[in-house]
Amino acid sequence: MKQNRKIKQLVISDENDLTFGKAPHPVECGKGLVIGGGQVYPEINFTLPSMTVEEDTWQEVRNQYSTIIEEICQRAVVLETSGIVVEFELLPPMTLNPQWGAEITQILRNTLDNYYEKDGLRSALRVTPVDVRDAERPPRMRNGKFWDKTYRSFELCAEAGADMLSIESTGGKEIHDEALMQGDLAGLIFALGSLGARDMKFLWSHIVDIANKYNVIPAGDTACGFANTAMVLAEKKMIPRVLAAVDRVASVARTLQGHLEGAVGPTKDCAYEGPYLKALCGIPISMEGRSSACAHLSTVGNIAGACCDVWSNESVQNVRLLSANAPVVSLEQLIYDCRLYNTAIEAGNDYSENYRKMLIESDLHLDPQAYVLSPEVVIRIAEKLVKCETPLAMTIQSARETVKIIEQAYNNKELNLNKGDIRWLGLMKTQLETIPEDESQLLENIKSGPLANKFLPEEYGL
């Protein structure tokens, strides 16, 4: 299953082949779902309403998850869905007490099995432990209590019945958070292209081992703590949208490392770097857009779906809406979205191509973060990335190409930018001129700057 340790050419090189429901390397998982094999499946994610997770409330926590999964399966059956992906994202106490995460995994597993036998509902269960290594500052990535808990959580959840394993890993975030707030591209690039990429290699080689041992699928990671933080900050007008767009593409090399270590997809829903990964390694991807508005607002509601293989709501609390509990509402919306994708695929090329173009065109011109998700741009940038020798070089190249392409698009009047964005394009260009591609050089620069004491180089093998 392991991919080549280095990507030499694009698996998808024609932008028209970067489309929804079809991936060159489909993944079969759960009860016979073939992800990327010609259909888009909904991925439903949910979390607790306002309550604590502790001994005293544990029975209620279990009840919450039992009810949610029961109601979800019921609705999926009524709507005659051909299959669903269910994601269980652990909450911190469930990784800190790995047994708890496993208990919930088991509850979900049993219910999914029941509905498969009773109603023929096909499904796959993705389980995502929390990267609790982030609980210390500076974090220890390869030792200590938090690493042990994270590792154990993977093992127990795999044993308890997960079909796929994922994580939102955080290696390098201790630098990225600071750099983002300061608009410091050298810091961002160091966090992603050096620390992040190194930690991804370390972490995913372990996850892949666990997955092999328990015969489950090592699915994928996400730069959520990085580029989605940037997206949310841009949404709140805290940072310029062009910076968030650059950060997004700059996260590709980092997340890619997981796949070089053997993660096979589907990628995590919140990994908007997914289209790049699909082009680079041909893996199926999970994406989220308008139907994840319950989890975060965004400017890429439609275009995010242009080449998805799984379509997610990211997350919603189990609160009662006028119709039903919110997870059921989300599931229903995802199912209707997927009916459209799949109707288009069945109806043939005219339909799916037109629909894909509509998804792209409807968001493309309004935001740079949407622009960099357009398949055409993805292929153009990805072509440049395969030529890079190291993750760090790839990260720098991503940033440079993104700035260039956004500038071109603005000049060609293909993309709306405001004054702040334009000012920042200039600021970023200047910064990018001075960032060294040599990792030890960059490390030295960082070590002599204000971020020096924020991270432990040895935890990244540096």
């Binding site: 979390t47 310029p240 702040g420």
Partner: protein
């Protein structure tokens, strides 16, 4: 331009001193520190330097941020320049203690690691002239209590981003009150609503870093009445 105008401008531009590399077009020109020195030499009142120059400049930065012209990175640079100025004034200000705007103890509650929002709020408060004691993330009630005891006049600010940690705010407030402490408490974070704040007995709530300085000032005012 008067010195105070110049000082204000240096804060707005985030220009710390003549040697500071930012912004590129001001390198070599006098920055915040230089201008404060000059103002002190000219015997301008401390109050004026603080309120007109530093806080006045930062207010404009706040406005530019609200209007979408500035982003956080620009704001941080200005905040740093302002802090540099404050550091110079502090030894002098202690002699006039009534000038101290106030202290805020900030922390993300137990079980929660999200700190971007909290840090922003802290920065805004510092920009507003407050002293901020940052307890970091995953802060247990005891630590809040300890710090509140040491700073009986301080306002306590708690942040939570998870639906599963917001209940820890309730717990923390209960414990703080059970210790007989009456520090005003404000809370925030994406899942926090006004209703929740009322419910758990917090005195203030905001989902908007820009509003926080006003919120805290109002609380202090009401305290004095």
């Amino acid at each position: 331009m008067s010195i105070m105008e110049e000082l204000k401008n240096a804060v707005i531009k985030g220009h710390l001193d003549a040697d500071a590399p930012y912004p590129p077009d001001m390198v070599g020109q006098p920055g915040v520190k230089d201008l404060i020195e000059k103002a002190l030499e000219e015997d301008i009142e401390l109050k004026t330097i603080l309120n007109e120059g530093l806080i006045g400049g930062m207010n404009i930065v706040g406005e530019k941020f609200s209007s979408g012209e500035y982003f956080v990175p620009e704001m941080m640079i200005s905040a740093k320049a302002m802090k540099g100025g404050l550091n110079m004034l502090e030894p002098l200000l202690v002699k006039e203690p009534s000038q101290k705007v106030g202290t805020v103890i900030m922390g993300t509650v137990q079980g929660d690691m999200h700190d971007i929002g909290k840090n922003l709020v802290g920065m805004m408060l510092e920009g507003g002239g407050f002293e901020v004691i940052d307890l970091g993330v995953d802060v247990d009630p005891e630590k809040f209590i300890e710090n509140a005891k040491e700073n009986p006049d301080a306002i306590i600010g708690m942040s939570a981003l998870l639906t599963t940690t917001m209940e820890n705010m309730r717990k923390t407030i209960k414990l703080i009150r059970s210790e007989g402490l009456d520090n005003k408490i404000i809370i925030g974070g994406a899942p926090i609503t006004k209703k929740f704040a009322d419910d758990i007995g917090a005195e203030g709530q905001s989902n908007n870093a820009g509003e926080v300085v006003g919120l805290v000032k109002n609380l202090l005012k009401s305290e004095k009445q």
